[in-house]
Amino acid sequence: MLLTLQSAIGDIRDLDEADLSRVARRAAHGALMGARGNSGVILSQIFRGFAVGVGTRASVDAAQLAAAFREGSTVAYRAVIKPTEGTMLTVAREASAAAVTAAEKTGDLTEVVKSACEAAADAVERTTEQLDVLRQAGVVDAGGYGLQVILEGFLKRLQGEALTAFEKSAVQHARPKVVASPEAGWGYCTEFVINGEHLPVDDVRQEIARRGESALVVGDESAIKVHVHTHEPATVIGYASGVGSLSRLKVDDMSAQHHRLQGEVARRPRSSKRMALVAVASGDGFRRILESLGVDSVVGGGQTMNPSTEDLLAAVESVPSESVLVLPNNGNVIMAAQQVAQLTRKQVSIVPSKSMPQGIAALLAFDFGADLEANASAMAHALKQVHTIEVTRAVRASEVDGLRIAENDVIALLDDRIVATGNAPLDAIAGALDRLKSTTVRTVTVYAGSDAPEAERERLTKTLMDRFPKAMVELQSGDQPLYPYVLAVE
């Protein structure tokens, strides 16, 4: 959510005019492009609704501001397929309702925003009561709280108070960075924003596409965001600077990345396919497994480092087919993936896989002879046939479903619910397997994380073979961070 907000701010930072409609539109656009995770996507929709509510007005009065807040909440609700109360949606709705009520009584902007802030704070407090998962953990909804903080920042600015800067999240460092290679030749990932008036978006899109690969050109006549892989970034930048003024320019050497993937790329023909697959994974092992099963583009990310809508969109645009199936492989990525379907001209279907085992089970149900819709539905069905066990360490003490968990305990999740704890991964896995209701187990696949010791992997595999003598037990390296083991039980 913070990254999404930063992306929105990045888009309005260079704007030195006091036209609210433009600021709101640009912020919405920046948020959408940088949207990561469910709360990030919802935030981007709130901003979008707010921009719609503001319309073409350069400034708003109290009633118009409240109406824009309400539109933000409405659009966000619409974007979520199954809205859940006790989340940031509730906070957005109650804050905007309070703003509307306040605006009926006063014309003072500060008062309206203050009411929204108070209602947001109250709503955040109540999220603990509304959602079981929050009550058990004894915390408030993080997205809701984030929205409250944004509104409070808004209020402080109106009241002329100084704003305190938040520290950047440590999580950000987990995103893998491309290391520049000394040899040139594999091209440069080039990104920038063209600013101006009456910008010819379609012309720019065509021109950029002609000059490079994986071109992604989005925007409107006032701002165009460009992402392209090219051998000659200077030529592209030269062209673009003739169209308008450039900002947020970034050029990355892709040599290192390409060298790593060279083998796979060489094998994979670039010819057009009937259908292409895009999947999200963290860990080189998982990436290789997905590619070996026919995934055309693997987007890095997953737990704690969700790929943005833009990352997913770039992957969808880069694959050689007009029909694309997307496997988010994480519950927090599904919404960002769903946004992609609205941003591309390609036909996109999202298979709602919430874990790597689910994603791989879905992938194995892929039918080369079937169309996009039939595949999406068969894959969505297949992913339910697998149970996922994930092993990690508790980041803090809590109590879940009567299970007392101390900080740093090994915990095992069965299909996203914490069901067992232990001193070592094997104990926790045994506990999770006890909770499994499946009658017959045919295959168990162990995906070892990057820090799972070799001897322990072997021991776990042997234990599983003893426990399920009739099943096929397979050990694979997922190389995923944070989770020493991920198990697929079929």
Partner: protein, 276 residues
């Protein structure tokens, strides 16, 4: 009368050949310098045994033009016209050999048809042609009947691995199934005469489940066979499993021969069938 000629990859038993009056021209399988006529000098079961012990990987060859000429001449001299239906021309030169033989023997009274298929799917086309001929149809009518059935002959199969298909250079579009890091079973079909991918399954039992599912998606089956190579038990079980769904339909068990076995390897099962 019209008589049917096919090749040994049709997987017809000698009883089926005899009762339908079908002439079968064998392809050849080579282990080093040793040559065996497909299903004549070597049965499927013997071949898979030999495959285990042999240090050399077998190769195959199409029947010679001469072998077809001989078969066509014998039938012509008995006063018959000939409809030859043969292994897919995309994967074998068999069809081409027969075409050349027909030109040199008697082009006007011999029709050569590309089945775009193999195994019992090809066998069914031959049997259909023979039945039509027995009913007194002309050469043109028999050939038209068989050609019309070409797109209706289907094969669904799974196998232990695709290594044999790849090594033999017949993998076609099923190449997309190669290279999986997970242990998976490939599912393939034959389309327009070529091997094409259907999907993957996580385990052998799951592969069999998928085969049955795919079979049941097609309706109006007129003929059905379970094919296998060194997987007799699985084939019997598959037959027992699908039989209740097709009352009144005789479900053949077809054992593939050495030539097809060279490309599938041991451990292959599948369905071949005709749809109305």
């Amino acid at each position: 009368m019209v008589r049917i000629v096919t090749d040994s990859t049709a997987d017809l038993t000698s009883a089926q050949q005899r009762s339908a009056g079908i002439t079968v021209v064998p392809l050849n399988v080579h282990f080093g310098d040793q040559v065996f006529r497909d299903r004549v000098d070597l049965t499927g079961a013997e071949f898979f045994e030999k495959l285990k012990s042999s240090s050399q990987h077998p190769r195959t060859s199409q029947p010679s033009v001469g072998a077809f000429e001989e078969a066509f001449r014998a039938l012509r001299s008995d006063g018959h016209e000939v409809a030859a239906v043969l292994l897919s021309a995309k994967v074998s030169g068999t069809y081409n050999s027969a075409l050349m033989a027909a030109r040199s023997v008697d082009q006007d009274h011999i029709e050569v048809i590309d089945s775009e298929s193999a195994s019992m799917a090809l066998g069914f086309l031959a049997l259909e042609g023979a039945e039509k001929a027995k009913a007194g149809a002309s050469l043109k009518e028999v050939a038209a009947h068989v050609r019309a059935l070409v797109p209706k002959a289907k094969i669904l199969a799974t196998m232990d691995s695709l290594t044999y298909l790849e090594r033999g250079g017949r993998i076609g579009k099923a190449r997309a199934l190669l290279g999986s890091l997970l242990n998976v079973k490939p599912l393939i079909t034959v389309q327009d005469g070529e091997v094409v991918p259907l999907g993957r399954a996580r385990s052998w039992p799951q592969a069999l489940d998928r085969l049955v599912e795919m079979l049941e998606r097609d309706s109006n089956l007129t003929r059905l066979a379970v094919l296998h190579g060194a997987a007799d038990t699985d084939a019997q079980q598959l037959r027992a499993r699908v039989a209740p769904r097709y009352p009144g339909l005789e479900i053949h068990l077809a054992e593939i021969g050495p030539v097809l076995g060279t490309y599938t390897g041991p451990g292959v099962v599948g369905f071949t069938y005709l749809i109305a």
